[in-house]
């Protein structure tokens, strides 16, 4: 009797630690998701996003972002980590239940927050974003009390859906995800689409409501088309993959790369013709930042020197152009044309590169970063100082800088469809030069320097020369951007050369992929094109205020999940695969394959184990 009665409580107590761990996890995920949701509201992101409709009139960006949070959190319950030797737990309805509970908890957290704001209107004094309007939006226009039902309910559904998503077979999941993503993307890129199909108003009229969002009908159509196309392509995927792997042979690969490069170049050359002023202006900014990022890529990606004051070289290019070409230049009388000023810009950049490079020759890693950070600021502060103000215009800067004279016209900001070509030419030059350099002797020296400075020196790399060359090359490329920038905007003043510019360029290089030329260009396209630069609007104007927040979040995410960048250099990728391949081949061969030496020293027959 005793044995029977004692056994059930024993199992319960054995199981309880597991249950408790699960409960704790559900609670943690729920509170965390709720916290993130509250955060988006507290910083005003939620309210700002409310103005942007995604599907007119049923869904705005604010609610999409808000409830995407529990959905992503819920999906984490269906995630399985494959560990060799341990069978992964199959997906179960329990996961969905856990996710839904976590979602409900998140909803309660948000409702509590709304209640708090409602109860203490004084909070507004400290947190101006918190107010009755936010409470109303957050509770979906219901009362605060019903928020406690509505918010947990929707969050639970979102989280449950996130978890259930993993149940859908891969074949369907992918098209579904793409279709789902295409709606907000298309809605948010409305200005671009509008601009592209300027000539064919029927397309934009069909797609978008007057508010500039997809309509219910058009979103259904878009989703169906995207899902259908993606499903079809997915079926053909194995065939394409096979064809690619068959062309593993280097010459074919090379040809593919060249063809792709030509297509990309053609696209860049032709595209501006179809774009309006705003889009070309935006692409010009992308180009300027891509140029700077390409320059920093030489310094950081190739040579491994972390220069945090890189904006100084941009400033040198811009100011040299300003001083030499502006009729209002305080220092220089003869007004030179941009073309004649250009060689002087290059010379100034070389000198600046040497000036920054020489004192930091002996510095490594963090010290180098800190000192260059200081340099960047010193340049800006010196330009503002009483000492240099008379020469460089101080806070007012230098105005009336003419554009680039080409065939009788001035290329500047008023002609973005021409300016874009000027920028593109220099981007191509920078890409070509970087590409050639990476493959050259100095490129190898940089790689050695990046990996191990001492050994690089020991194998005969002149580390002093290699470092200075990296700084000078980077400086010259940034000065191109500076010269173009001065001609484009017509005014240079210190505000354009804040430390933030250095940081943004750094983020572009890191997010794109250090040392990868396509990566850096794509990084600039994505970050500057979509989010925008420090003073330049991007495609998603809604994100304007939160740009830096997103930059920061992206940087953290990339460092954690994909430190090699969006588009790591192809060579590295191949090496990695080759690596695995070789390792497998090695394992297959098994033991008994001990190091062979031609010498007689392997005396023990059979070798050692």
């Amino acid at each position: 009797m005793t044995t029977v009665t004692t056994s059930p409580p024993r199992t319960a107590s054995e199981r309880s630690p597991v249950d408790r761990a699960v409960m704790r996890r559900v609670l943690r995920v729920g509170v965390l998701a709720g916290g993130v949701m509250v955060y988006t509201a507290a910083i005003g992101m939620f309210q700002t996003f409310n103005d942007k409709e995604i599907i007119d009139p049923i869904l705005s960006l604010s609610y999409l972002v808000l409830f995407a949070i529990p959905a992503v959190a819920g999906a984490s319950f269906s995630k399985r980590v494959a560990i060799e030797g341990i069978e992964t737990e199959p997906l179960s309805t329990l996961d969905i239940a856990k996710a839904a509970i976590a979602g409900a908890i998140a909803g309660v957290v948000v409702a509590l927050f709304a209640l708090l704001v409602d109860l203490f209107p004084d909070l507004r004094g400290t947190f101006p974003k918190l107010g009755p309007q936010m409470v109303r939006l957050l509770t979906l226009e219901y009362s605060v009390a019903s928020g406690f039902i509505v918010l947990p309910a929707i969050s639970a559904v979102a989280a449950g859906a996130g978890a259930a998503f993993a149940w859908i077979p891969e074949r369907i999941r992918r098209p579904l995800l793409l279709a789902g993503a295409s709606i907000p993307v298309l809605s948010m890129f409305e200005p671009l689409v509008d601009d592209l199909f300027d000539e064919i108003p029927a397309i934009t009229d069909f797609l978008y409501s007057p508010a500039g969002a997809l309509t219910i009908t058009s979103s259904i159509v878009v989703a169906l088309v995207v899902a259908g196309v993606s499903y079809y392509l997915r079926q053909r995927d194995p065939i394409i993959k096979k064809r690619l792997s068959q062309s593993a042979d280097v010459s074919v690969r090379r040809r593919t790369t060249i063809v792709l490069a030509i297509i990309a170049i053609l696209a860049f050359v032709v595209l501006p013709q179809f774009l309006g002023g705003i889009m070309n202006e935006l692409l010009t900014n992308v180009g300027l930042f891509a140029l700077m990022a390409l320059g920093l890529n030489v310094v950081l990606g190739f040579a491994g020197l972390l220069d945090l004051g890189y904006v100084a070289f941009f400033a040198v290019g811009a100011y040299t152009t300003g001083v030499l070409t502006s009729p209002l230049s305080p220092t220089w009388d003869p007004v030179l044309s941009w073309w004649f000023a250009f060689p002087a810009v290059v010379v100034a950049a070389v000198l600046a590169g040497l000036m920054v490079g020489t004192p930091v020759l002996r510095m490594r890693g963090d010290y180098l970063a800190i000192v260059t950070l200081g340099f960047g600021e010193i340049v800006r502060i010196l330009l503002l100082s009483d000492w240099l103000s008379p020469y460089f215009g101080g806070a007012q800067g230098i105005r009336s800088i003419p554009g680039i004279p080409v065939a009788g016209t001035q290329v500047n900001a008023t002609s973005p469809e021409l300016m874009i070509y000027a920028v593109l030419v220099f981007v191509f030059i920078a890409v070509y030069v970087s590409w050639r350099l990476e493959d050259s002797r100095i490129g190898r020296a940089w790689a050695a320097l990046r990996e191990d400075e001492d050994v690089a020196e020991a194998v005969g790399v002149d580390t002093v020369k290699a470092k200075l060359l990296a700084f000078v090359t980077g400086a010259v490329i940034a000065s191109f951007a500076g010269a173009l920038f001065a001609a484009k905007v017509g005014t240079v003043f210190t505000n354009s050369f804040q430390i933030l510019v250095s940081i943004i360029i750094l983020v572009i290089v890191i997010v794109g992929g250090m040392g990868s030329l396509p990566g850096v260009v794509v990084g600039a396209l994505v970050l500057i094109g979509i989010l925008g630069g420090p003073n330049q609007p991007g495609l998603l104007q809604e994100f304007g205020e939160f740009k830096l927040l997103i930059y920061g979040a992206l940087l953290v995410y990339m460092m954690l999940k994909r430190p090699e960048g969006l588009l790591p250099s192809v060579r590295r990728q191949r090496e990695l695969h080759q690596d695995e391949f070789l390792q497998d081949a090695w394992l297959d061969k098994g033991e008994g394959d001990e190091p062979q030496s031609p010498g007689p020293s392997v005396a023990e027959p059979g070798g050692q184990a």
Partner: protein, 244 residues
């Protein structure tokens, strides 16, 4: 050293002192290494062995005394110039470029050579010495085993076609069988005509293949003799050869 009279040493120190800041490391060191020789430098931890090699390559400048390569004073020459003059080093702990492939590591070895067209042929020579390296050519160096790394490090140094090969503790961290193999290869390289100057703590092993040896103690040369002489030296036996 009487047998060498009249010849110019491939490598020589005359009264060399070095300092790291205020710390006096090498004290009045004299060395002479002749072409074709294999000479080892023995000594305990922190006696200044690595510093000696760095002074040869110019990574540390003497505060007093002269360094000669082929009879030419090289004080003030950059490391690159000395590498160009035919000195090449296998650094302590191998120190490969870990994130580069084996091939790229070997390629870097040729950095200062003008005859890049001979790269493939020299690569073949490395494969003859180390067949294993060939299989690993496109593997990242950081993922190689310790023994393989040693092979690549020696290969990288040889790719520079050096007249004098400096080796800093080639046996460090290797299993006994690999150490024996390793010394075998060094011997082979030396017999093929490359002068070898080797720093070792494994005195027995080093002296078994070397022609001569120096013993360094707290920065001073305390003994210098033929390998046989050192092996038989009672003082040496008690201090370095692990005999009571």
């Amino acid at each position: 050293m009487s047998e060498q009279d009249g010849r110019t040493p491939a490598l020589a120190f005359k009264g060399v002192d070095t300092h790291y800041g205020a710390a006096h490391i090498l004290k009045d060191v004299d060395l002479e290494i002749y072409e074709g020789e294999m000479v080892c430098l023995l000594g305990g931890n922190a006696s200044g062995k690595t510093t000696t090699l760095k002074a040869i390559l110019g990574m540390v400048e003497p505060t007093r005394g002269m360094v000669y390569i082929d009879g030419q004073p090289v004080n003030g020459w950059t490391t690159a110039e000395r590498v160009k003059a035919g000195i090449s080093m296998v650094p302590e702990n191998r120190r490969l470029f870990k994130r580069m492939t084996v091939k790229e590591n070997l390629e870097i070895g040729t950095y200062l050579r003008d005859d890049e067209e001979n790269f493939e042929a020299d690569l073949e020579h490395i494969f003859e010495l180390f067949p294993r390296v060939k299989e690993r050519l496109s593997q990242k160096a950081g993922t190689l085993s310790g023994g393989e790394q040693q092979m690549v490090a020696v290969g990288r140094a040889l790719m520079a076609k050096p007249k004098v090969l400096l080796m800093d503790e080639p046996s460090m961290g290797l299993a006994p069988v690999l150490v024996a193999q390793n010394f075998d290869i060094i011997d082979q390289i030396n017999r093929a005509g490359t002068t070898v100057f080797m720093v070792e703590q494994n005195a027995n092993m080093a002296l078994s293949i070397a022609d001569r040896g120096y013993v360094l103690q707290t920065g001073q040369i305390v003994l210098s003799d033929t390998a046989q002489g050192l092996l038989n030296n009672p003082q040496m036996r008690s201090a370095y050869l692990g005999e009571a």
